[in-house]
Amino acid sequence: MAERKTILIDPVTRIEGHSKITLHMDENGNVEDARFHVTQFRGFEKFTEGRPFSEMPSLMARICGICPVSHLIASAKACDALLAVRIPPTAEKLRRIFGIAQVVQSHALSLFHLSSPDILLGMDADPAETNIFGVLAKNPSLARDGIMLRKFGQQIIERLGGKRIHPAWVVPGGVSEPLSQQDRDAILKTIPDALDIAVRSLNWLKQASETLSEEISVFGNFPSLFMGLVRKDGSLTFYDGTLRFVDENGIEVAGNLDPSRYLEFLGEKVEPWSYLKSAYYLPRGFPGGIYRVGPLARLNVVTHCGTPLADKALAEFRQLQQPVPLSSFYYHYARVVEILYCVERIEQLLNDPEILDTHVRAVANPNAMEGVGVAEAPRGTLIHHYKIDENGLIQWVNLIIATGQNNLAMNRSVLQVAKHYVKGDKITHGMLNRVEAVIRAYDPCLSCSTHALGQMALEVQLVNTAGEIVDRVARN
């Protein structure tokens, strides 16, 4: 009787911790199951218990060094709800700028530094070259564009928040400092170049994707729900609005959902093999309630972006697959459309007559014992939910992060890619790179270390039921 085998990819990388993938083979050497394990455990929900609620934004920003701004904003919004205040309009606009500046820098990191090597150099390229230096050797202007877009976003964060990483400028009730005219003008000067780069990047991606039709067809190309925040007019937003679910045909399944009532429509399941919970749409149960969040989902749930260039790009995006783009490869494309939107939107907001107003913070004591804050992080919808006691001390915290909401979809995507590319006993770099690349498309934090410069810490083992290593590939 033929043996059943398991391919173990360990570590794939980190989500500020570790993860691994196991591919389970049947007796004929075909992949029958795949599991994406996140073995990281951070415990923020527990160790913040007992802390004053006002500390939460700064504490929560430490969850992530890449998108601390999203945690700051979602946390501050939860604290706004505890204070039961309406923050000053200018503070809200400044928070919007802050949030989407981070989207630009995070998306630029994902596309240019992490995924462009796969797209530019090919999925079968030597892993030692699939990094930013490989990109600059083949297409220096693309590498320059990636660097400049990152810098664009980070400089806005630094000008508003005082520093690039873990800024504490967003506070319960608003923001701590108004925007100066000098900073406003300095940011506005950088807009034209950023827009040029975004347009150029979209053109490059469209052309480069033409050679990847096989990957596009199996990189998480399956029906699912999509969820994201939308504004009242149905347009794209990263800050507020209501939640909307659409299905694989683009038909609304649920809309106008109050994000603060997420427990009524979102469920979470814990699997024994991962610390990452799997979120699902409650009315459809588990795992039928699989849904995706993030750039692909956001563009599938909105009616329009709300800025001229992004709306034009969205119209082209919607021609990629009918009735709606389903392949997770198109997360990359959606990211560039969102970069365009963010740059255009930042310009709109900076030109708002109220943007230099100095009233940027509402002050109050807690007026509610429970608060929920929801925002769109670069990787998808982010929910912070706090309960406090009469002294304002945190009693209970629940966080639902984008990576958890995409967990089911990532597992299914890995399975789809593995079934297509992994055959028999031999493991090839190209095969492994595709398994990793589909995870990178979702841009979970674990994509961070998958492109170490020539020293990717990756080991894959093909193990039979007796525990013997049949094949092994290491990238050190």
Partner: protein
């Protein structure tokens, strides 16, 4: 003509002595004007800093080190002495300058000023030995801003 100088102070200020560069940057800001040098504090050397580094005449990296006697201040320009392989998020000083040279066509004069740490555990204060050596570190950097001469070994 006065050289354009960029001071890159990097490390983690929540890891005790690893944050010495940030403390040094505070002291340097009190003594230098923007015309003298641009000072950037950062947790790690990220690729976008390559652009900034390629547009100056001199880059001074300030970092904590280990291996030497705690408090030992060193100044050198041998980037091969600095271990590390880099990643998509951070680069070694040599990689940062390489990237800037390829993309922007300039490799500035460069120096590394380091101080050996004693304690790298969680904390936002420096160990006594590093605190007492901080003035020497700052003086070494100040000298480099005006003259490309290492005043420490």
């Amino acid at each position: 003509m006065t050289p354009r100088v960029l001071i890159l102070a990097y490390g983690n200020p929540l890891r005790s002595d690893d944050g010495v560069a940030w403390r040094a940057a505070e002291l340097l800001r009190a003594k230098l004007s923007l015309a003298d040098a641009e000072i950037v504090c950062t947790h790690q050397l990220t690729p976008e800093l390559a652009e900034s580094a390629a547009h100056v005449d001199r880059v001074i990296f300030i970092d904590a080190a280990n291996g030497d006697k705690p408090g030992q201040v060193r100044c050198h320009n041998d980037l091969d002495q600095i271990a590390g392989s880099g990643s998509s998020h951070w680069l070694t000083p040599a990689q940062l300058l390489d990237l800037g040279e390829v993309l922007y066509g300039n490799r500035p004069q460069h120096f590394v000023v380091s101080i050996a740490g004693e304690n790298f555990e969680h904390g936002d204060t420096l160990s006594a030995v590093v605190e007492s050596a901080l003035p020497q570190l700052v003086q070494t950097v100040l000298t480099l801003v005006t003259s490309p001469v290492c005043s420490a070994t």
